[in-house]
């Protein structure tokens, strides 16, 4: 009997690996670019600031990854920061334990509502979350007329800016802990694997017996919960709960998810990949700010980046789409 020789797996440079390596190449390029263009970028202090911002965006983007993985989308994350943050701060402006819990719980609640409306009324998620984003920002404005609610509390501020480890702001620690918890959930639990299945082919997943509706609601709930974390960290850092936010946060989250490697059609990528996407968008925004780029131009650039990222990341799954609506 002929013995089969086991060949070493050769590294294949195909379209998949090319697309997967784009984020890493991009980060290196961006760091080089901005280091060259702006002396302020190169400082240690700026690096820490980038990490702090990235921590906040990491929460947001991780949350966004769950609906996107499933093939849906959550457009309400930005407004959720305003809506749930303002409501939490209105109920308990002291910044104590209750405020913290409220922010998380309200985010979770908003996410559950998003998911429920999508599932039970059988509406496309982008319409539901678009409407919810208006409702949430409306609630935020109604309660404060657009002003911010200040939270003056040392402990609250400590959550983000304190130093459990010298030189490292706390928020980075919390964000990493939460992040790895959700990476674990996404990669190693039944629930997480099912999300990949549903995103890959929802019809097949449903026929396999996966309760698509239940997992969809949970995905949106997680999105809301993680947005709650982002709300918490953001308002802790700033000392105020913002009454009005631009579309920046939503955009950044979407860009991070898509650049990271989770295409909008879902099914591949996942929370693990979102990390690099978050770094990219944070460095991009920080760099653009430091070189003094007009914010309106920044919007335009981010739009181009978003469209480009969606395009590049949909290349592996091109065959699934005949015509895009």
């Amino acid at each position: 009997m002929k013995e089969e020789r086991v060949e070493l797996k050769k590294f294949k440079w195909d379209i998949n690996t090319a697309v997967n390596s784009v984020p890493y190449i991009l980060i290196v390029l961006l760091i080089i670019l901005f280091s060259a263009l702006s002396p302020a970028f190169r400082t240690y202090r700026n690096m820490i600031e980038i990490l702090v911002l990235a921590s906040i965006f990491l929460m947001l983007a991780t949350g966004e990854t769950f609906p996107v993985l499933i093939g849906s989308i959550d457009l309400s994350v930005g407004s959720m920061i305003v809506g749930s943050g303002i409501v939490a701060a209105t109920i308990d402006p002291s910044g104590g334990f209750i405020t913290v819990v409220l922010m998380l719980v309200l985010g979770l609640l908003a996410g559950i509502i998003n998911g429920s409306i999508t599932v039970f009324l059988k509406l496309p998620s982008f319409i539901v979350t678009l409407a919810t984003s208006f409702i949430l920002s409306g609630i935020g404005i109604a309660l404060t007329k657009g002003y911010c609610i200040g939270i003056r509390s040392r402990q609250f501020n400590w959550i983000t800016t304190g130093n459990l480890i010298a030189g490292v702001p706390n928020v980075i620690l919390w964000a990493l802990i939460v992040y790895f918890v959700f990476v674990y959930i996404n990669e190693r639990t039944k629930f997480g694997r099912y999300l990949f299945a549903i995103g890959g082919d929802e019809d097949v997943a449903a026929r396999m017996g996966i309760n698509v509706n239940k997992y969809r609601i949970i995905a949106f709930a997680l999105s809301g919960l993680l947005t709650g974390f982002a709300t918490l960290f953001l308002s802790s850092k700033l000392g105020v709960v913002s009454g009005r936010l631009g579309p920046t946060y939503l955009f950044n989250a979407l860009i991070a998810v898509v650049i990271g490697g989770t295409p909008l059609s879902g099914g591949i990528g996942g929370v693990k990949k979102t990390f690099i996407g978050v770094l990219i968008i944070t460095i991009l925004e920080n760099g653009m700010n430091l070189i003094g780029m007009d914010i309106r131009v920044q919007y335009i650039i981010k739009t181009v980046v978003l469209i480009f990222a969606v395009y590049v990341n949909s290349i592996p799954v091109r065959s699934k789409i005949d015509f895009m609506k």
Partner: protein, 317 residues
């Protein structure tokens, strides 16, 4: 018996938008006596005019199964372009605005069709970009217009006593109904919305039609933008912001389904009137802008939920 019930139900559903329209009108009419005064009706008509033009464009896009979230930003930007052109071109400054709108719509369509980017995402991103460009062009503050002839586009009266502002949407609506019903392009839109693959196999040039539909929507937004600049005598940042949600709501309430293939410009007329009446009524009730945003969001969910053709979507993303 079952079949009869379904048929009756279906026939009733056709008239639901009109019924709601009448109900809401009566509601507000009873609540506020001045609601049906000539002055207020004029107001409603004025609000409805811009919404009507844009919703016609949006009807075509939604009929195809796509969506255009950038309409508000397109209105703002084209309004700014027209405002900038007035000192050089007088009243003909309306044309650069319309052309700019068509160009923007064309770009939208191109990206969606060529790069297969989902329409809602692309138009959402485009909305941000266009708002940014508009801000740059306007230098972040309103552009004032000072040209009598330009104001007359909306203010003047070509026919008898009717202000032009009310005349133009009527013309637009008639043209759009004609396009929708009697041109190859219009019929293709219906078929694409119903089933893209089948329409492709039937020989319809799906990509071209999609491109043209987005361009039409952009063109109509350009028209609306120029008209808004004419009416307000200025171009302001974020001028068209409310129009996006309202036009989607209007089209959907009117009876055109988001999945496409059913509905059209005629149905949208009722949706627009309903939204305009609702808007005016909310003003009467003294609701703040925030509450109106909330209400519009709820109305949109309710409208989409009520109108969805569930059988066509085995699973919802």
């Amino acid at each position: 018996m079952e079949k009869e019930k379904t048929i009756i139900l279906y026939a009733l559903m056709q008239y639901l938008p009109i019924a709601i329209l009448i109900a809401v009108s009566i509601f507000f009419g009873i609540l506020y006596e001045t609601f049906f005064s000539i002055a207020n009706l004029y107001n409603i008509l004025r609000q409805a005019s811009f919404l009507m033009i844009i919703s016609m464009g949006m009807s075509f896009v939604i009929l195809m199964g796509s969506i255009d979230a950038s309409v508000g930003a397109m209105v703002t930007l084209t309004g700014a372009i027209s405002a900038l052109a007035v000192p050089f071109m007088g009243w003909t400054a309306i044309f650069p605005g319309i052309l700019a709108g068509a160009l923007l719509g064309f770009i939208n369509g191109l990206i969606i069709v060529k790069w297969k980017i989902p329409s809602f995402l692309e138009t959402l991103a485009m909305m941000s970009a266009l708002d940014g460009i508009a801000l740059i062009v306007m230098k972040s503050s309103p552009i004032n217009i000072d040209c009598k002839a330009y104001f007359n586009i909306t203010g003047g009266s070509l026919i008898g006593n009717m202000p032009n502002l009310s005349l133009i949407p009527i013309v637009v609506v008639l043209i759009c109904i004609y396009i929708g019903r009697r041109t190859h392009f219009g019929r293709s839109i219906y078929v694409i919305g119903a089933n893209e693959r089948v329409s492709h196999y039937s020989g319809i040039n799906v990509r071209f039609t999609q491109l043209m539909a987005f361009m039409t929507c952009g063109l109509l937004c350009g028209l609306a933008g120029s008209l808004e600049a004419s009416l307000f005598e200025a171009a302001c940042p974020y001028m068209g912001q409310d129009l996006m949600m309202n036009s989607i709501a209007a089209v959907v309430i009117g009876g055109t389904q988001l999945t496409g293939g059913v509905g059209g410009p005629i149905r949208t007329i009722f949706g627009v009137i309903l939204i305009a009446i609702l808007g005016s009524g909310m003003n009467f009730m003294g609701l703040t802008t925030a509450s109106k945003e909330i209400a519009t969001g709820i109305v949109m969910i309710a409208a989409v939920a009520a109108n969805m053709d569930r059988s066509k979507m085995p699973f919802v993303k």
